[in-house]
Symmetry: none
Subunit: 195 residues, 4 copies
């Protein structure tokens, strides 16, 4: 086997893994963990069912991959916001991004929040920690902004911000009303300005 064949295969394999991860993130968000069969993810990724297990040994690993994927999406967003000079502007940018996603939130809820709820009901495993990690990543970033802003108790403020987001996403979803995102989003913006 030549090096190029090997690396091409590796590339294919990596691509497949990426496709599976992306499919898992999307399908698990839309259908929920328990209602999603491995076959659903395989199909969405265009991968034969039996092959999935060469990339993910269990369904839980796919859930974890989805969690990681959503975290990565979040990282991309915060990385972009980090280019703004003003921490307040960054926080506002985050809230604005949430509001922009209002239709999705009203239909499917926050990807990480709903996964958190579903994972909590699954038998104890490393997933709880993965969820906590995903949540903490967001909390930490927000706390850093509040810190740079000179706010007292930046962790508390971060908690309030993220709780506000999770709460409004859950209510928007439960009431199937994207306007909840708009209203609460504006309140959060005003709150940030007042910090």
């Amino acid at each position: 086997m030549t090096d190029s064949q090997r690396s091409s295969r590796a590339a294919t394999a990596a691509a497949k893994r990426r496709r599976l991860t992306a499919a898992a993130a999307q399908v698990l968000h839309h259908k929920g963990v328990e209602r999603t069969a491995i076959a659903d993810i395989a199909q969405a990724a265009g991968v034969p069912v039996g092959n999935v297990y060469y990339y993910f040994k269990t369904k839980d690993e796919l859930v974890e991959a989805a969690l990681t994927e959503h975290t990565a999406t979040l990282d991309t967003l915060t990385a972009e916001l980090d280019r703004l000079p003003d921490p307040r502007a960054r926080l506002r940018g985050l809230v604005t991004a949430w509001v922009t996603q209002r239709e999705t939130a009203a239909r499917y809820g926050c990807p990480i929040g709903t996964l958190a709820v579903e994972v909590d009901k699954r038998d104890p495993g490393g997933l709880d920690e993965s969820v906590a990690r995903a949540v903490r990543r967001l909390l930490d970033w927000a706390a850093q902004q509040f810190r740079e802003l000179g706010t007292d108790d930046p962790d508390g403020h971060a908690l309030t911000l993220v709780a506000g987001y999770q709460g409004m996403s859950l209510l928007a979803n439960a009431l199937r009303d994207p306007e909840v995102m708009t209203r609460e989003g504006e309140r959060l913006l005003a709150w940030i300005d007042a910090c």
Copy 2:
């Protein structure tokens, strides 16, 4: 058949239904809708599996009963709070009750909130409406207090309050940390005082 016999049997049947409803509320909250088998609820209620279907035709009906049960619990609480003369005291009482439940919230989340998330992933049915109704009941009560308090936009304030509760419950659960309830609960109390 005498009246007393009839009513005694009716009482037994009604009692069984109540036992099943209570069991459903508890087990579904703890294990989640998808992870709970009808047999789990039957066992918790001390009823043979086959007999459950005499009282509830489908699993969804049990979920609905659980939702109703949680709403009733909430109603009991708000009814008690309604005896307080001051709307602000009532709102504070609600928040205090939430904080008191912090261990449960950290372990299992808010019963209605987590059911809302899980139900959203189940195939469309009357359950979405049941969830929305349960959520709206809480929103309406809160809005009424804000109205009596003379706050502008009572509905908006109610939304903020309930979103705050759902958000803090979800985070407490995701982080397995009851302290989240305490901290955010205090913030909500201060916010109510400032309204």
Copy 3:
């Protein structure tokens, strides 16, 4: 207990039995034996489920009652036809009656014929004999007409006639086409005339 009470109860009981029999005949014809639950028949008869078993010890007995009911309906018809002086006219009247029922036949098939098919698949019991008896009743009446007509092999002719009826009912039902009844009915009339 007075005599009138006793007889009134007896009357009620008899009436209930009749209602159950009629309901069984209708529901079993429309929904089929296996798809019909005892509860369906009870409901159609306006009788509480538990009570059915005081009149019919098993589901099979209800099927038998339905069979008897359909036979009785047939008897009523043939008794009426028997008032006609001409055996040929009687046979023609029978065929005409079948054609008149074409919509029902196209939708549900012949009551006795479909019951015969379904009963054949049920575990061996007296029902096979009940079915045979119902079928023979019709065969015998037809044979008698052919005999009076002076036809040779009246039994064979009866067989042909009834087979024709069962065949056209089955095809009308399978094709959901009442016209099958009309066309084959006319052929049978011509055949009778030629006998």
Copy 4:
């Protein structure tokens, strides 16, 4: 994977599907649709129950496969008869084949006819159409023979022939008497000769 391996496995899979189809055709004919459990078919085919669903997504699909199988059997017969030069001889051959099957007919009825009756009682689905198609296949072949014979109204004659077959099968089954097939078969032969 080599081509031969692939085809060998494909052959095995196809063979299993064929075994399941054959088993379905036989067992459903003998025990009836409602009295046959998937497990019965699985056992008859020597396939584990869970595996059946890899080949047939629902019980209805198995029924449809059985219907197709019976149609195929019929096609084999008519294809053979098509080698006869005379359309009359072909029709006679068909009737003779029916009579040859008299013991089976007396015990279980016509496979397609009894399936037609049972399917009619099942909830609406594509099965009605499958039944109609199976019946029409036979009607069409018969009509073609009558057409070649120069008979007027070949469709009507086909209907008469097939109705005759269904009727005599049903009666033979209901009376558990294969002689019905013999007698009516002879009559049909004479009728064909007279056409």
